[in-house]
C-alpha cells in the first residue's frame, strides 16, 4: 500500500493553475465517477447539517420531555424519542456536527503529524530514521482501538481528548506512508541539484519535497476522515469517547439505548444508519479523489486493457500535455 502511494508522487508535478485545476477536477469527478459524485454530495450534506444543526433540529439536543419517552416514530418525532423523551432526529442531526468536528480536526492533526514525522524520517535517514521507525513500530504493534481506549481513559473522556488522541495516534502510524513517498523521490536529480546549489534542509523539505508528495498526503487525509469518524463512534460506543449527554452517533448506540433496544429499536437504528451513510459517502468520495489523482490506476496492458485503449491513449496524451505545458 505504502509503495502504491509512494510512486504516485512522481506524477504530481503538473503544476496547473489553481482555479482551473479545481473546476477541472470537479468536471472529471462528475463525468467519470458518478459514485464519487454521490459521495461528494453526501459529504457536503453532512458538513451543512453539521454546521446548521441549530436551525435544522426540530428540538434541542438534550431537550428532555418525560411525558414523551420511548415514543415510536411519528409526525412530531420523525425518528421517535428515547428513554428520556429526547427527539432522536434532533440528536442524530447534532451527531453529524460532532462527527464532522472530530473527523476533520483529528484528520488534520493526524495528517500534519504524518508529514512532520514522515518527511524528517524519510529525508534525514540514517540513525534518526532507525530510532524513529522503532518507535513507530512499537506504536503500531497495538491494536488501534485498544490503545486509543486506554489513552482516552487516561486523559478522561471528552470531545477534545478524543480528537487529540486519535489525531496523534494515527499521525504516528500513518507517517510510514509519507516516509515511503519521501524515500521514493529522495534520490531524484532535482533534489541533488537543490542540494548542490546549497539549499538548506528546511528549504529542500518545504519547497522541493513537500509539493512532490502532495498526492499521497491528500490520499492520507481523505482516507483518514471516514476512519476517524468510525473510530470515534466505536470509542463512544465502548464508553471511552465523547461522553453523554452529547449526541455522538456511537454513544447513542450504547448505554441506555442498549437497555431499551427491544422496546425502542428506533433508538439504535437511526444513529447507526446516519453513521453508515456518512462513512460510506465520504469513503466513496475519497476513493474517487484517489483514482483521479493516481493516473496509474487507469487502463492497463494485455487483454483487459485493450477495451479502453483509445480512452487510455487520450488520457496519456492529456497527462503528458499537462506535464510538459504547465499552462
Amino acid at each position: 500500500m505504502g509503495d502504491d502511494v509512494a510512486s504516485v508522487a512522481s506524477y504530481d508535478a503538473s503544476g496547473r493553475k489553481k482555479g482551473s485545476a479545481v473546476t477541472g477536477f470537479l468536471r472529471r469527478l462528475a463525468r467519470e465517477k458518478p459514485l464519487g459524485l454521490a459521495g461528494a454530495i453526501v459529504t457536503l450534506v453532512l458538513v451543512l447539517v453539521g454546521i446548521c444543526a441549530n436551525f435544522l433540529a426540530p428540538y434541542g439536543m438534550n431537550a428532555t420531555s418525560l411525558l414523551n419517552t420511548l415514543q415510536a416514530p411519528s409526525a412530531q418525532h420523525l425518528m421517535g424519542t428515547d428513554n428520556l423523551g429526547r427527539d432522536v432526529l434532533s440528536r442524530v442531526i447534532y451527531g453529524a456536527r460532532i462527527s464532522m468536528i472530530v473527523g476533520l480536526s483529528a484528520s488534520i492533526i493526524a495528517t500534519t503529524l504524518c508529514i512532520l514525522i514522515g518527511m524528517l524520517s524519510g529525508y534525514l535517514g540514517g540513525k534518526f530514521d532507525m530510532i524513529v521507525q522503532r518507535f513507530v513500530d512499537a506504536w503500531m504493534c497495538f491494536p488501534d482501538i485498544v490503545l486509543l481506549m486506554v489513552i482516552v481513559s487516561m486523559m478522561g473522556a471528552g470531545l477534545w481528548q478524543v480528537i487529540v488522541v486519535i489525531g496523534i495516534s494515527w499521525g504516528i502510524s500513518g507517517s510510514r506512508v509519507v516516509r515511503g513517498a519521501v524515500i521514493a523521490i529522495r534520490e531524484n536529480a532535482y533534489l541533488e541539484s537543490a542540494r548542490a546549489t546549497g539549499c538548506s534542509k528546511k528549504r529542500i523539505l518545504c519547497r522541493h519535497i513537500l509539493p512532490n508528495i502532495m498526492a499521497p498526503i491528500i490520499i492520507i487525509f481523505t482516507t483518514r476522515v471516514p476512519n476517524v469518524i468510525l473510530m470515534e463512534a466505536s470509542l463512544s460506543f465502548l464508553g471511552f469517547g465523547v461522553p453523554p449527554p452529547a449526541a455522538s452517533w456511537g454513544g447513542m448506540l450504547s448505554g441506555d439505548a442498549r437497555a431499551f433496544m427491544f422496546q425502542a429499536p428506533w433508538m439504535v437504528f437511526w444513529p447507526g444508519l446516519a453513521l453508515s451513510v456518512a462513512v460510506y459517502g465520504i469513503n466513496m468520495f475519497g476513493d474517487a479523489v484517489r483514482d483521479l489523482i493516481d493516473p496509474r490506476m487507469k487502463g492497463g496492458g494485455g487483454r483487459y486493457g485493450a477495451r479502453k485503449s483509445k480512452k487510455l491513449k487520450r488520457l496519456l496524451e492529456k497527462m503528458e500535455d499537462a506535464v510538459w505545458n504547465p499552462d
Binding site: 459514485l35 504493534c141 497495538f142 481506549m149 487516561m154 429499536p265 439504535v268 447507526g272 453513521l275
Partner: protein, 318 residues
C-alpha cells in the same frame, strides 16, 4: 536469507522494549486511582487502610521501580495478578483466549471466503457493472460499523420472531453445534468487516499482476482465459495475500473487542474493556503486552514468509 531473518529478528528487540515502556507508563498514568476505588467500598476508609492496600498491590514504590519489577517478572513469564480478582493475569488471558481465537478464525475464514472470489472477479472484469457492484459492496463492508450491524441482528429477529441468541457461553467440548451456532453470527459480522479491506487488496494485487508482461505473453500464446487467470495470474497475485493476514490482524483484534461486547462473548476484548473501566493496571498492561506480542509475532512470520516467497523484499532490512 539467514542474514535477512536475523536482521528482522534483531529489529524486534528494541520494538518490544519500547512497546513495554509505552504500555507501562500509559497504564500508570490513568487517573482515578484504583486504590481509591477499592477503599471507597469500605466504610472505614482511613489513611492506614489506603497504605496497606497500596503496599499489598506494590504501588507504594516509585514508578521506575515498579517498571523494573514488572519487566523482571515478565522475563520469567509472570504478568502479575489482577488488582481486583487476584487471579494471575496469565491465567485470565489463557481462560479468555479460546473465545477470541475461535471468533477470529471464523471471521478470517468468512472474510477470505467472501473477499477472494469477489476481489478476483472484480479485477478481471474491471470497470464493468459487476466490478462497480463489488467495489460498492466492499466499501459498504468497511462503512457499516459492526456494532450497529450486530445490534440490529440481535434486535430485529427478537422483535419479529422472538429469537434471541444464547447469552451464556457454550463450550465447544460440551456441545460443538451449539457452540458454533453461538459464534457464527458474530463471526460473519466481523468477517464482513474484514472482507472489505481484503476484497480491495485482492483486487489491486490482481490488477497489478494482470498488467505484467508475462500475462500478455500468456494471452499471446492463445491460452484459455481460465488458464491465464488461475495458473498465471492468481498464483502470483496470491503471494502478497500472505501479507494480508498481517495487515488485517490489528483490525481483527479491534473488531473482536467490539463484537465480543455486543454478543456478550467472554473473550480477551471483554477483558480489556472491563479492566480499563476498573483501572485494573496489571490486567490492562498484561493484555496489551499480549496483543503487542501477538501482532509482532504475526508480522515477523509474515515478513519472513514473504522473504522466502519473494526474494526482492529481502533487501528491505539492509
Amino acid at each position: 536469507m539467514k542474514v535477512y531473518v536475523v536482521r528482522r529478528l534483531l529489529l524486534v528487540i528494541p520494538t518490544i522494549f519500547i512497546a513495554s515502556f509505552v504500555i507501562f507508563f500509559l497504564v500508570h498514568l490513568i487517573p482515578g486511582n484504583v486504590v481509591d476505588m477499592m477503599v471507597s467500598g469500605q466504610q472505614t476508609a482511613t489513611e492506614e487502610a489506603r497504605h496497606t492496600v497500596e503496599h499489598d498491590l506494590g504501588l507504594d514504590v516509585p514508578l521506575y521501580v515498579q517498571y523494573v519489577r514488572w519487566i523482571g517478572n515478565i522475563s520469567h513469564g509472570d504478568l502479575g495478578k489482577s488488582l481486583w480478582t487476584k487471579t494471575a493475569v496469565t491465567q485470565e488471558i489463557v481462560a479468555r483466549l479460546p473465545v477470541t481465537l475461535e471468533l477470529g478464525i471464523i471471521a478470517l475464514l468468512v472474510s477470505l471466503l467472501i473477499a477472494l472470489p469477489i476481489g478476483i472477479y472484480s479485477a478481471i472484469r474491471q470497470d464493468t457493472l459487476g466490478d462497480y457492484l463489488a467495489r460498492t459492496f466492499a466499501i459498504l463492508c468497511i462503512a457499516v460499523p459492526g456494532f450497529w450491524l450486530g445490534t440490529l441482528v440481535i434486535v430485529f429477529p427478537a422483535i419479529w420472531w422472538g429469537y434471541t441468541p444464547p447469552i451464556v457461553l457454550i463450550p465447544f467440548a460440551d456441545n460443538p453445534l451449539g457452540n458454533l451456532r453461538m459464534f457464527i453470527l458474530p463471526g460473519i459480522i466481523l468477517g464482513m468487516q474484514l472482507s472489505g479491506q481484503t476484497m480491495r487488496m485482492t483486487r489491486t494485487m490482481m490488477l497489478e499482476v494482470l498488467r505484467q508482461d508475462y500475462i500478455r505473453t500468456a494471452w499471446a500464446k492463445g491460452l484459455k482465459e481460465r488458464v491465464v487467470i488461475v495458473r498465471h495470474a492468481l498464483k502470483n497475485a496470491l503471494i502478497p495475500v500472505v501479507t494480508l493476514i498481517g495487515i488485517l490482524m490489528p483490525t481483527l483484534i479491534g473488531g473482536t473487542v467490539i463484537i465480543e461486547q455486543i454478543f456478550g462473548l467472554p473473550g480477551l476484548g471483554r477483558l480489556i474493556v472491563d479492566s480499563t473501566f476498573r483501572r485494573d493496571y496489571t490486567l490492562i498492561s498484561g493484555v496489551m503486552l499480549f496483543y503487542a506480542f501477538v501482532l509482532m509475532f504475526v508480522n515477523l512470520v509474515v515478513d519472513v514468509t514473504y522473504g522466502f516467497l519473494d526474494p526482492r523484499t529481502r533487501n528491505r532490512y539492509r
